[in-house]
């Protein structure tokens, strides 16, 4: 290379030997310099995609203008381009349809050859052939560019890894400190989707009692959360892909084309499979980076532990917050929930009703048939209430045979309708009493209803008003329903 050429190479080296935020930034600067030095009207970069065995044309500088383009050359097959990439030939030149020069973006590092891609230089207008000195200069510049491109990629990869490790630590902390399992899962799935930039993240958990793998949550790239609880797959299913993956079997052949866009991570705690985390890029159709896959793989262990802890926490919570006889929440759980609901309706202005329910002549049942039958009555009433209420309603055993129900989003007339339906169902209830003459005992209830904010704004006031309405029903023959606001005046 001439002295002038050496000088240019030094300037090129100085220009590129600094940090670039992205490979595109490096390439746009380098291509402009290469075009100037080689007097090429068009310089294109093909980047090597080793997994797909392709050289992908991504960027092109044409007369100082930057293009993002798409063309590809296969490298799996024997071809001059494959030989160039592998260093078997130094450069390739063509003079048809116009002068073209290909130079490899490769170098030999201590870890082995780094085969990054190819440079293509063209002179479509001037049609002047690339001379041997041009060729020698381009090869030098291509080598320098390859080393800088490799460094930029390494540095970016390190930054990404660091950022992701920070993310994982942050997510683990959020997850571990979360009290409610559902919100913890939501946060972590949103975090995984956002920080790893997946299109969608889904979580399925093993339900050992039901023998199923049950959907929990799905979060997409816009943060939208979808409840997957309706999805339940028997663990005995040999056909279902999720079950096979959970068992540690390889996904079926049909999944091979999706392997780079869908990732299954079985969640295991102490050799027990507790669930499956599935991430995908099906919407964007972009490949999931290998480094992301392996990083997430190591994170799956932490998710599994946290999920398991949260489940145990949930079970302990359930035991301490629910009445073992009726299965209904206990009063202290109700009180906590009531406060949350009151806080919510004060802000949203939505209605909220409270119903107090009392089993008619319950003391008589106990006295006549014994406590065992009394317990059966309460158990059946509790089960029927849990079965018939709306998902948003919240019943609790208030004490003895009294049950209280929170009815969110229900105005007084809605609450009366809901409770009318429930009392009608309860009337059909028959508790078998084999030793009695009648062989069974029926159940009726009395109900009083109050509504926020008309009847009161505090929990105490609303319960008292509902109780007043209940008292009115009980004193007027029982087996009925009354809203506080409909009590005949004077109310008290």
């Amino acid at each position: 290379m001439s002295g002038d050429g050496q000088g240019f190479l030094y300037r090129f080296h100085k220009e590129l030997h600094r940090p670039f935020a992205t490979p595109e930034e490096l390439l746009s600067r380098a291509l402009a310099l290469i075009a100037r030095r080689s007097r090429a009207e068009r310089v294109s970069v093909f980047l090597h995609d080793a997994e797909r065995q392709r050289l992908m044309l991504r960027y092109c500088l044409h007369k100082d203008l930057w293009f993002e383009l798409e063309e590809q050359l296969k490298t799996g097959e024997p071809s001059p381009f494959t030989s160039l990439l592998k260093g078997e030939v130094k450069a390739l030149s063509f003079d048809s349809p116009h002068p073209i020069l290909y130079a490899p973006l490769r170098f030999d590092s201590v870890e082995g050859p780094a085969e990054l891609g190819l440079l293509r230089l063209e002179r479509p207008s001037s049609r002047k052939l690339f001379s041997p000195p041009d060729r020698a200069a381009v090869l030098e510049l291509a080598l320098e560019l390859a080393q800088n491109l490799h460094q930029t990629r390494l540095s970016l990869s390190r930054q990404r890894q660091l950022k992701r490790l920070e993310t994982l630590t942050e997510l683990t902390a959020i997850f571990a400190s979360s009290l409610r399992v559902e919100s913890g899962l939501k946060l972590i799935l949103q975090g995984v989707a956002r920080h790893f930039q997946f299109d969608r993240v889904r979580l399925y958990l093993v339900n050992p009692q039901a023998g199923t793998l049950r959907g929990e949550l799905s979060v997409d790239l816009r943060g939208t959360v979808v409840n997957l609880k309706s999805e339940e797959i028997p663990l005995s299913s040999d056909e279902h892909r999720f079950i096979r993956v959970l068992r540690g079997e390889a996904p079926d052949a049909h999944m091979r084309p999706y392997e780079d866009r869908v990732l299954y991570l079985p969640l295991t705690v102490q050799a027990q499979k507790i669930g499956l985390l599935i991430v995908d890029n099906l919407l964007s159709q972009q490949a999931i980076a290998r480094e992301d896959a392996s990083l997430l793989g190591s994170f799956a262990g932490q998710i599994a532990l946290a999920v398991d802890n949260a489940r145990l926490f949930e079970q302990v919570q359930a035991l301490s917050l629910h009445d073992s006889l009726t299965g209904l929440p206990l009063r202290r759980y109700f009180d906590q929930r009531f406060q949350e609901e009151l806080y919510r309706v004060e802000r949203s202005g939505e209605p909220l009703s409270v119903a107090m329910l009392d089993v008619d002549y319950f003391k008589g049942v106990n006295d006549t048939y014994g406590h065992q039958i009394g317990d059966l009555v309460l158990k059946a009433v509790g089960r029927l209430i849990l079965k018939n209420l709306r998902k948003i309603d919240f019943p609790a055993r208030f004490g003895g045979d009294e049950i209280v129900l929170l009815l969110p989003q229900a105005r007084s007339e809605d609450a009366v309708n809901i409770m009318s339906r429930l009392t009608a169902e309860l009337k059909d209830l028959r508790i078998p009493v084999p030793f009695s003459k009648a062989k069974e005992v029926g159940v009726t209830v009395s109900v009083g209803v109050s509504t926020h904010p008309e009847d009161g704004r505090t929990a105490e006031a609303l319960i008292q008003r509902a109780d007043e309405a209940l008292y009115w029903v009980k004193s007027h023959g029982r087996d009925g329903l009354m809203a506080f606001r409909q009590l005949p005046a004077p109310r008290a």
Binding site: R58, E68, E70, E71, F81, L221, P257, Y258, Q285
Partner: protein, 404 residues
């Protein structure tokens, strides 16, 4: 100085920049304190960059105005990427554009307008009269149907084997060594097949009519009649560089190549089945949501979508303006192609503007890429096409399910 970023597709190859710059004059006259930076990238690059913006809004460049294939409008709007133009211009009326384009400006069932039509192309088959004459082939008879066109390919391939000059019977209109939905659509529709159900609820192209249409098109590649690679690693050869005898294209030939244009004639795309069918491919302009400067960006979009501006720009790139009333004016300068385009118009359809259309196109192209790989490695079997279509259909059905 205010700066607006405009992302365009390579509408005019490497001349996209200079052509577009000339057409920004109108906007600059009204906005002397604004500079427009143009970035040119393919649809795949656009797709990748839009997902980058979506997933990491703080990273890299963002456009104010962008060109999109019109059938991506619903996909991108659904992802929350496009600005509702009615918010900026409540009086915006789509009646100014050709009727076919109007449904492609919005998401079905929504009043929002998320893109404005810019220009379109209508696919016809061009052929070299001189070559047909020299070989004694009757184009009108042979090119009236797909079988006849295959016969021409067979004759030309046989004749040109090992000879210099134009070496391929027919060019691939896809410059990426690939096959897209747009490429196979006329064949598939002509056989009575379709890609998707009308309501977009399920995939239909695994059915026999559609499968036959894809197979008809792919057969041109598998038979070696349609080049997948260009010379020396350049883009594939085409009719307009003199390398092929025929090409399906939606544009009018460029004005600069007078000698070549004089040898060309056009006919509607030969039907593969009972019905004539072709593709009308529309390009639209949209604003990125939350791009900043929405009023200025809308000013640029409105000027570009002005009927006179559309006519001038489309004319320069050999396309047709989307503005109603001026759409066919470019044919006045190319009267000998008029008949082919007019006959094709009645049989023209557009790819559907489904909520997941962008993704569905990617899935289809990936499948075709695998088949092209088989052809290149001389491992292609017609049965593989069937398998790929079934696999792609299953994936597309799943994706449609996600968006329902």
């Amino acid at each position: 100085m205010r700066e607006l970023h405009f992302w365009v597709l390579p509408n005019n190859g490497f001349d996209t920049f200079p052509t577009l710059k000339e057409h920004l004059a109108l906007f600059y006259r009204g906005h002397p304190d604004v500079r427009v930076t143009i970035s040119v990238g393919t649809a795949a690059a656009l797709w990748t960059n839009l997902f980058r913006i979506l997933k990491d809004p703080s990273s890299g460049a963002r456009p104010h105005v962008l060109q999109i294939p019109s059938h991506w409008t619903a996909s991108l709007a659904q992802l929350g990427l496009l600005q509702d133009l009615r918010e900026l211009d409540p009086g915006l009326d789509l009646a100014r554009w050709v009727p076919a384009a109007r449904d492609h400006c919005r998401v079905a069932g929504s009043d929002q307008i998320c893109s404005l039509p810019w220009w379109f192309e209508l696919r016809v088959l061009y052929y070299r009269q001189d070559i047909f004459r020299r070989l004694g082939l009757d184009p009108r008879r042979l090119l009236a149907g797909w079988e006849g066109m295959r016969e021409v390919c067979r004759v030309l391939a046989e004749k040109w084997r090992g000879s210099p000059g134009p070496v391929y019977p027919i060019a691939n209109p896809n410059p990426r060594r690939g096959v897209s939905m747009a490429d196979v659509a006329p064949c598939l529709w002509s056989r009575g097949g379709d890609f998707f159900a009308r309501d977009g609820s399920r995939v239909l192209f695994q059915r026999s009519h559609a499968l036959g249409g894809v197979s008809d098109y792919f057969d041109l590649i598998a038979s070696g009649w349609m080049p997948l690679t260009g010379p020396n690693g350049l883009a594939p050869r085409n009719l307009f560089d003199g390398s092929c005898a025929m090409q399906i294209s939606g544009r009018l030939p460029r004005r600069g190549k007078k000698k070549l244009v004089a040898t060309l004639e056009a006919v509607p795309v030969p039907p593969t089945g009972g019905a004539a069918a072709t593709l009308l491919g529309m390009q639209s302009l949209a604003l990125l949501r939350d791009c900043g400067e929405p009023e200025w960006a809308y000013g640029l979009l409105r000027d570009l979508a002005d009927p006179a501006a559309e006519e001038a720009y489309a004319g320069d790139i050999g396309a047709f303006p989307a503005a109603d009333g001026v759409a066919w004016r470019p044919l006045a300068a190319a009267p000998h192609f008029r008949e082919a385009f007019e006959r094709s118009l009645g049989a023209a359809r557009m790819l559907p503007n489904l909520r997941a259309m962008g993704t569905l196109e990617q899935v289809f192209e990936r499948s075709m890429e695998r088949l092209v790989g088989d052809v290149v490695q001389r491992a292609y079997e017609p049965e593989r096409l069937h398998q790929e279509i079934i696999r792609a259909s299953a994936e597309m059905d799943y994706i449609l399910g996600l968006n329902s």
